[in-house]
Amino acid sequence: MSNDILKLTCRELRDSIAKGEVKSSEAVSSVFAQIEKYDVSIGAFLSIFKQDALKRAKEIDGKIAKGKPVGALAGVPIAVKDNMCTTFGTTTCASKILENFRSPYNATVIEKLLAADAVIIGKTNLDEFAMGSSTENSGLKKTVNPWDKSRVPGGSSGGSAAAVAAKMCFAALGSDTGGSIRQPASFCGVAGLKPTYGRVSRYGLVAYGSSLDQIGPLTTDVADNALLLSVISGHDEKDSTSVDEKMAPVYDFSAKIDEPLKKLKIAVVPQLFEGADSEVVNAVKDAIEVYKKLAAEIIEIKMPHFEYAIAAYYLIATAEASSNLARFDGVHYGHRTKNPADYIEVYSKSRNEAFGQEVKRRIMLGTYALSSGYYDAYYLKALKVRNLIRGDFTAAFQKADCIIMPTSPTTAFKIGEKTADPLQMYLSDVYTIAVNLSGVPAISIPCGFDKNNLPVGLQIIASTFQEEKLLRIAKMFENHTDFHKRRPEL
């Protein structure tokens, strides 16, 4: 029975729970059985809330038994990345500096999940402060790819992607600053969406690059993704950058999910296929063929500024990060050095002791970019490049409904393969970063497997607040393929 439960999607599980066919407590127990069995080797979770989750599941079962109304995710076990604040457990950002940090408040997305009667079962591993592309930068735990345990799950939302792929939860939330949802989704063979900047409240998401960060769902299929997005979206008065719902209305994005788009126009950027592995390119080209068979028109476009995205990103994101992470100083909370000589040492030693290599590298890079005398040449220039990249996207969406390209130039790479060379690591986000810079939504869905049986991700990008269209386009592909149904052997 428990194994059958794990085969259900979020929607199926929710409906079964609502009908009384399955109990939420059974689903939660199944998930914890899976975690106990496999997470020892996968390492997706930084913390789990077994007792609390079971208690909550029983409460929801009780509500359903009494015929009371329940939310859109009633009884569904969900995991969240450990950079979203929760009043329960710790919020560590996989950093030693916040190893024992307990937030006095819940992130808005957490409140929304709870209001939808979801059961939050645990918090997942990430690259420290979401800085990385392999989850190897976690200061607290190692996470591996469920498809091949010698490989990385991608990052920074590697824990969330691995947990969904290994069915240790029914869905998870991640955050995406430069590809941190889509790239691990691609590596782990699940669906991962970065919504339009401003679609989902950032309140309670521990900031990395504030103008780029966006929370989004990782799920086994596109319809589940639409369901999760409907739950977490919406204007939040606590986040000034979240968008007015008059401009970006929120409704059930899964309602019309099976309606294919008529006269679908897809743009591809031939120049961008050059840097990717041939197996990845072939899988993406096959995906384009699928769309052609569905009567989509394929057009070729140029995105002249796309290649500057990585350079601009590593100035903008690190500049913001250097400021966002200044608060972790050992004075008010978090790790504090022992026996400092003076208050300056409280700062310098606490930070030096508790931040990892990559975090320090980015803080220094960002500090440099904002320094007097360098600001114009670096930060300001990067903002100009950002505008040019936005322009590329605007022009593209005047011609096509979406753009298709790989999510990542490779499939999951070996653990340790790129840790010695940060630049190589940065290049694994070459296809995802421009999306964050321009704020548009994009999804990664599985579109094939390489010779090592590792999933390949297809990235579909749409225009601002066109998530519904984006998800329907993704669903068209899913309806005619079965890559999303394959599960790793654990």
Binding site: S240, A326, R327
Partner: protein, 489 residues
């Protein structure tokens, strides 16, 4: 002293705490002297994941003040992060405004002692959040109270247009009066609502050359008196220092001095102004502010007549002297109360006296404004008219004023009830005066004599009349009748 000619150059950096209900970027209340760390939330504590949300009222107050200071109000402004590490700054950056301040290129007019008005240019007016407070204890640890963290501050920077220590105080007093008129700040120096940091140096002419002394910034000034004294002290100290060692202004030799209120001297705090790099950049958590014409008009509807204008109107239109006009325009409530009472028909000088000599004294004792004493300007005008018409004495007007605070009936009615109406009926008074003259022949004799005793005797006779009328006789009428009687007989 050697023969040197010098000019004092002073510019001011002023922080004004806005009287909003809540903090600049969160909903925490602003309460003075609350229990440490009792008025805090994830946002002003700078907790991970928290985000600032702009207080619209604070922006409106800032725009209002920028307008009152004749600034150009920005149509588009934004928020910037100013980075520096200090324990009272929980995010280790302050949200401020860098290159697009809310107001720029304005001026403030200050009344000088000689009645002239001086214009001091305002370079910029911008909004920012305050830091918390470090409390240094006996132990090796310091404590941090973050109640103040996130308090909205208006920073006003003047051009270095001030050349006399006294003008620094006059500007401070005038600015306090303006912000109180606008209602944007309580502007209580003791509570730190207004903080002034003068930047002082001298331009010295010696041997046909001009020298500039190093700039000094003075901190911890908590009274207008200290402000003036500190600049005067610095002037002398810098002159002495220059004459002694000839030190002149160089990049990086700006010094920070604190003011020692007891010794009445400036004390060196920081020798060299470190080359701070605040790494300003636009705060990505906040959206830029667009000040539409419509919004600006709505805000400017709250722009009242400013105190200095009102003061000169009271002099020119109402014939008050400048001192009285200054007292009446020290705060808006008093100024409006006075203006309304005069507009209701009260004689300006009489209304002024009633307010300055009676009303303000009582209001001060009760720690309230004059408009909160329970007397309407209209009623006060009636009272002033009675004094003007000689219906009551000045002494009686005080008694009636006090009664009016509880009793809502007219001053006429109150005077009647208390038997305070003066007898001005000449026929009636003449009868009484005749009685007094008949009863005191010696005094009458003395009064007529014109000698030394005359004045005293005259006073005695007046007193007798007042006694017989139980103080209700109009002294002017009595004096007039008595004089003619003494002359005539």
């Amino acid at each position: 002293m050697m023969n040197v000619d010098y000019k004092v150059i002073v510019g001011l950096e002023i922080h004004v705490q806005l009287a909003t209900l809540t903090k600049m970027f969160c909903g925490c209340e602003l309460i003075f002297a609350a229990e440490p760390n009792s008025r805090v939330c994830p946002v002003c504590l700078g907790l991970p994941g928290s985000l600032p949300v702009m207080n619209k009222q604070a922006v409106e107050f800032a725009i209002l003040t920028a307008g009152a200071l004749n600034c150009k109000v920005a149509e588009f402004t934004k928020w910037d992060r100013k980075s520096y590490y200090y324990p009272d700054l929980p995010k280790n950056y302050q949200i401020s405004q860098y290159d697009l301040p809310i107001g720029s290129n304005g001026f403030i007019e200050i009344p000088l002692q000689d009645g002239k008005i001086k214009k001091i240019r305002i370079r910029r007016v911008h909004l920012e959040e305050d830091a918390g407070k470090n409390i240094h204890t006996e132990s090796i640890f310091s404590q941090v109270d973050l109640n103040r963290a996130g308090t909205p501050l208006l920073e006003i920077v003047t051009e270095p247009d001030i050349n006399i220590a006294e003008e620094v105080r006059l500007l401070a007093v005038e600015l306090q009066r303006i912000v109180r008129f606008l209602g944007i700040s309580e502007a209580d120096m003791q509570k730190g609502h207004m903080r002034f940091e003068p930047n002082v140096n001298l331009h010295i002419k010696k041997d046909n050359a001009e020298y500039k002394t190093p700039i000094t910034e003075i901190k911890n000034l908590n009274s207008f008196k200290a402000l003036e004294k500190s600049v005067a002290f610095e002037t002398k100290r810098q002159l002495d220092e220059f004459l002694e060692d000839g030190t002149v202004l160089q990049s990086g030799n700006k010094k920070t001095f604190g003011w020692d209120d007891i010794r009445e001297a400036t004390v060196l705090q920081r020798e060299k102004e470190e080359a701070h790099d605040y790494r300003y950049f636009p705060d990505p958590d906040l959206v830029p502010v667009v000040v539409s014409r419509k919004w600006l008009n709505e805000i400017n509807a709250g722009l009242c007549e400013l105190p200095l204008k009102m003061q000169s109107r009271f002099v020119t239109d109402y014939g008050l002297n400048d001192y009285d006009a200054g007292v009446l325009t020290a705060d808006k409530a008093t100024a409006m109360f006075f203006d309304n009472a005069v507009k209701a028909g009260g004689d300006a000088k009489r209304v002024c006296n009633l307010i300055t000599q009676t009303g303000l004294k009582i209001a001060n004792e009760k720690s309230c404004t004059i408009s909160e004493l329970g007397i309407s300007p209209h009623r006060l005008a009636e009272l002033a008219k009675m004094v003007e018409a000689g219906l009551i004495s000045a002494t009686a007007s005080v008694t009636i004023f006090e009664k009016m605070m509880q009793d809502k009936s007219s001053p006429q009615q109150i005077a009647d009830n208390l038997h305070l109406l003066q007898k001005s009926d000449e026929g009636e008074l003449e009868k009484i005066i005749d009685e007094v003259i008949t009863a005191n022949p010696q005094a009458v004799e003395d009064a007529k004599s014109g000698g030394k005793k005359s004045k005293k005797a005259h006073g005695f006779l007046m007193g007798q009349v007042m006694q017989k009328t139980k103080g209700t006789a109009n002294p002017q009428v009595v004096a007039k009748i008595l004089n003619s009687k003494l002359k005539g007989s």
